[in-house]
Every structure is written in C-alpha cells, then in structure tokens.
C-alpha cells in the first residue's frame, strides 16, 4: 500500500468578504488516526472540500502523496471520503446507491455488497435510504468512503448521529485501518468524541491553525486546577501569594459557603502539603479534572495558547 501523506500548504479560501480558511498548513501522516478539530464554523468542512476539489481554493492547495485530488486517476480508489450525513437520494436503495458509484470508483458490484456487510447494513441493502435512521446513513456514508479500499480516508464528523455501539464500531474500524498503514483524518467539533480514537490532533479556529501535535503532547499542556477553601481566607490568600500560585477567587456557591480559590499549577497534593506546613486548616481541596476539552476551549476561543 502506498503510504500517502496529506499535505495542506498555505490553503486559503474566501467566500466574498468572508475568509473561511486562512493560510492553513499541516501534514497528516500515514499509519495514524488524526483528529481535525475546531468549533462549528472553524473551517473544517471547507478544508476537506478544498482538499477533495469540490471547492476551489483562493490560494495554496492540498496534495495526496504529492498529487492534487483532481489529478489522480480514479481518485476514489485511493482516497475515500464521507462528507455530509445525507448525500443520498431517499428513493434509492443502499445497494443501488453504491452501485451508481461503483463503475466510476472502479470496483465490481460484488464489492458493493461486501462493503455493506462490513458496515453492518447487509440486511438493509435493498431498503430505500429514505427509511434509514441517522446512524444507518452514517454507516452508509462510511461504506461509500470505503468502497474503493482507499489508502486515505477523510471523514467529516463520522460520529454524528451514531449510537454508542456505532461509535465504538467506527473507533475499532479506524484503528484497524491505521494499523494497516492508511492515512486517516476525521473531523469533529468535540474533542471528547474523538479523544479515544486519535493519535494526532490538528486544531483550527476561525480558519487558522492553532495547534498541531500528538494527542499526548496536547495532554501535556493540561495544567491541574484545584478548588481550595480554608476557614481563614486571608491566610489562604497569603499562602497562595507566598507560594506564587496562580489563584483566582471563586464566589461562594452551591455546596460552598466559604470564599474559595481556583488554583492553577500545583497538584492537590502539593497544595495540601503547603497548607499543612503553614498550619492552615483547609475546608475544601477539590482537584478539577484537567480535561482535554478545557485545553481545547482555551486554544480555540483565544485563537491560540497565550
């Protein structure tokens, strides 16, 4: 199998006065599942459509193993894509839908049935797509993408509309395909949805790249946060200042009558030790889950790490 690198370089797309994608550059490596993340409207779908030649860039471009999509003969044989949840004629059966594409993709009719079996739609092959649930449409979209047994897979929000079983199915499918050396890019507006699936993350906001690393490196960016309260708030304030902790006052709220601090940096254990050493009695010491989602928000809202 050809190991295809997806290379996005200086990609820019303007729709009139609106800039959807601006000077975007990144690489997607084979053998890994890459998450393409950003809030809704960040330009993810536009980037995928630009990569696939469905819309023309204002500047820059995207290549697969050095070639533009439109320049590849029988491209769907090398690059499989599922872009929107519902690009099916409701009156056509699942099998007929695949068969309309098979000649151009360059596969036999037999392959259409095999792929339906692979995505778990064998029993529904002769049913009209109009009767399909969102989850079934999602599976059929993946079937279309896989039809040509491609080395590169681009999926836009593949977990949308899938039930938990479907999500776990697509996870193991993508993992297996990455292990075979394929290049896989999946977009999502929720990091949590793909957190257990991806190896690498590319995060964009407002059409610009804000982060590009492995998931492990992204995790390392997380700094622990702890809610701390004491029966002597001024003493707690002095302790935080003395230790040089980044602390923000939290107002009293549900379950908390004392004023508290949100401390970023030290772990809960370090805070507890310091309080003990200075003879301060803590009334609350709650470690907040330093989730990836929080980093994700920080990255995408501020337009980059400050």
């Amino acid at each position: 199998m050809v190991e295809d690198v997806i290379e996005v370089s200086h990609l820019t797309k303007r729709f009139g006065s609106l800039t959807a994608v601006e000077d975007l550059s990144f690489q997607v490596q084979p053998g890994r599942v890459t998450g393409f993340l950003g809030p809704n409207g960040a330009g993810k779908t536009t980037t995928l459509r630009l990569a696939l030649g469905l819309i023309r860039p204002t500047g820059g471009g995207v290549t697969f193993d050095g070639q533009k999509y439109a320049a590849i003969p029988r491209p769907a044989h090398h690059i499989g894509a599922a872009l929107e949840a519902a690009s099916f004629h409701p009156g056509r059966t699942a099998l007929a839908h695949l068969k309309t594409l098979a000649p151009e993709v360059g596969v036999s009719d037999k392959r259409c049935m095999e792929i339906l079996e692979l995505v778990g739609l064998k029993a529904d092959a002769k049913r009209r797509v109009g009767q399909f649930s969102m989850g079934m449409r999602g599976r059929l979209g993946v079937a279309v993408a896989l039809l040509g047994d491609p080395g590169v897979l681009l999926l836009d929000e593949p977990t949308n509309g899938l039930d938990p079983e479907g999500i776990s199915w697509i996870r193991s499918l993508l993992r297996a395909m990455a292990t075979q050396g394929r290049t896989i890019l999946i977009s999502s507006h929720l990091l949590a949805e793909v957190e257990n699936t991806v190896d690498d993350v590319i995060i964009i906001a407002k059409g610009r790249l804000v982060h590009n690393s492995s998931l492990a490196d992204l995790r390392a960016l997380a700094r622990p946060q702890t809610i701390v309260a004491a029966n002597d708030p001024p003493a707690l304030g002095r302790l935080a200042a003395g230790q040089g902790w980044a602390a923000q006052p939290l107002p009293a709220g549900p379950g908390r009558t004392d004023a508290a601090l949100m401390v970023t940096g030290p772990t809960a254990a370090e805070i507890g030790q310091a309080a003990f050493a200075s003879g301060l009695a803590l009334t609350q010491l709650a470690s907040q889950v330093a989730g990836l989602e929080q980093i994700f928000f920080r990255l995408t809202e501020g337009g980059g790490l400050k």
Partner: protein
C-alpha cells in the same frame, strides 16, 4: 467515459421517477389521443355533407394526414417529459447532495456532464416509444372504429413515428443541458413550465399575427421539435412547421442541447459544491 456512462445509467434507472413520470405522460397522451381522434373524425364526418370546395376551405387535413396530425400530439404536448427527466438527472443530484459523491468519484466535471448528456439519449428514446405508442394506439383504434383512416398502412406514417422518436431522444439531452445551467430544482421547474407553456407558444404566435412567414422563432426549441416531426397541431393555428427540413431541425435541437450544456458548464456546473 464508459464508467461514467454506466454510473449515469444506473442513476437514471435506480429511482422510481423515470417510470412514474412515464406513466403520467402515457396516461395524459392516451386520453388526449382518444379525445382528438374522436373529435376530428366526428368533425370530418359532419363536414362530409358540404361540397368539396367548402371542405378544402376549412384547411383541415384529411384521412391519413389527419391521423398523423393527431399522433403528433405526442411530441408537441409531451416533449416536456423527456426534457424534465434529462434536467432532473442534474437537479436531483444537487437537491439530494449526491453531486458530492458524484464529483468525488469523477472530479472531471466535463466527463460527468458528457456522460449525463449521452445517457439521457436512450432514456429519451424509451420515453418516445411509450409516448408515441400511448398517443397513436388509442387514436388509431378510434379512427378505425369510426370508419376513418388511421394511416398505419402508409410509409409516411411510419417515417413520422421514426422522426417523433428522434425528437423525444434529443429532448432528453436538451433537458440535461438546461439542468447544468439551472441546478436548482425549483427554479428549473419554474423555467421549464414558463418556457414551454407560455413564453415559447406566445413568441411563436407573433410572426403569423404580423404577417411574417419566416422568423427567428422557427429556431426556438419547441418549433424545431415540431419541425423534426413535420406535423403539428400548431400548424392548424397558422404556425407552419413544414418549412424546415427535419434533418436540419434535428441538428438545431441537438445544437440547443450542446449550447445549453456549454453555458451550464461555463457558468454553473464548475462552481464550488458546498
């Protein structure tokens, strides 16, 4: 191109639209064929008491020529059906967003458009067979029962059927050309109805009203379509369609298909799909 053609054929025949639209066309034409055959035959028999000169003065065709004029309703009234099936082969793809997988499987959009143009021809031909038969069979039956001449023994009648089939065949590709230019389905249907039911009939009525017998309106698609058949109900209204040789008319209608597809490709079909 072969693969694209195969894909387009499968798209045409894998939804129910082609036969639903065909049944509508056939039912409408069968009814009109019965009605017209009865009316014209009845009228002719009423007129038969008049002296021959008076009958001539009515300008109505007689015998087999009258039968052919009735059969020509297929093309004159129902060309909108192959036109629509051709145009919908594009607008449906935009409406249901299947244009995305279509362009992913074949990014060379001129190949997609070319395949749609070619694939529409056999579909138009099948529409022709069904529409001509649906008009002619009941009409011929009525004419024979009422003692008229259905003209089925004449070579001229069968040559007319052949030309009508060609007319239907090419109309489907005119539809594809129009669909490539107007990819929005609602807009397309409005344009098709306005053009075929109002704009063109009105334009074609103008020259006879101002006493001209040859004008640019002869080149309008509906007019050349009638000229391909060489017989039309419109000729009764003074719109002579016999002037243009049918071969030329066929080429001009093909020209419409190609010109519309060219315009569509240049201005609409290559646009961003998002």
């Amino acid at each position: 191109m072969t693969a694209a053609l195969k894909s387009e054929f499968r798209k045409l025949f894998s939804t129910r639209m082609w036969w639903i639209l065909m049944i509508c066309a056939a039912a409408y034409l069968a009814f009109m064929g019965l009605l017209m055959a009865f009316s014209f035959q009845f009228g002719t028999q009423e007129l038969s008491d008049l002296p021959p000169e008076a009958q001539e003065a009515t300008g109505l065709p007689r015998g087999a020529a009258m039968a052919r004029m009735i059969y020509s309703m297929a093309g004159s009234f129902a060309y909108i059906f192959p036109l629509l099936i051709g145009a919908l082969s594009i607008t449906q793809e935009y409406r249901h967003k299947t244009i995305t997988p279509t362009f992913l499987a074949e990014p060379r959009r001129y190949v997609v458009l070319g395949a749609k143009l070619v694939a529409s021809l056999p579909m138009g031909f099948v529409y022709g067979l069904v529409c001509v038969a649906a008009t002619a069979l009941p009409a011929a039956l009525v004419l024979e029962i009422m003692g008229g001449d259905a003209g089925l023994g004449q070579t001229e009648t069968w040559a007319f059927f052949g030309r009508a089939l060609l007319d239907f065949t090419v109309w489907a590709s005119v539809g594809v050309g129009l669909g490539s230019l107007i990819t929005n389905q609602v807009a397309l249907i409005v344009v098709v109805l306005a053009e075929t039911q109002a704009v063109e009939p009105i334009l074609r009525m103008l020259p006879p009203m101002i006493g001209q017998d040859w004008t640019w309106t002869d080149y309008l698609p509906g007019a050349v379509g009638d000229a391909i058949q060489g017989a039309s109900l419109y000729s009764l209204m003074g719109m002579d369609t016999g002037a243009m040789p049918w071969g030329w008319a066929l080429l001009i209608l093909l020209g419409w298909a190609v010109a519309l597809a060219g315009l569509g490709y240049a201005f609409q079909f290559r646009r961003d799909v998002s």
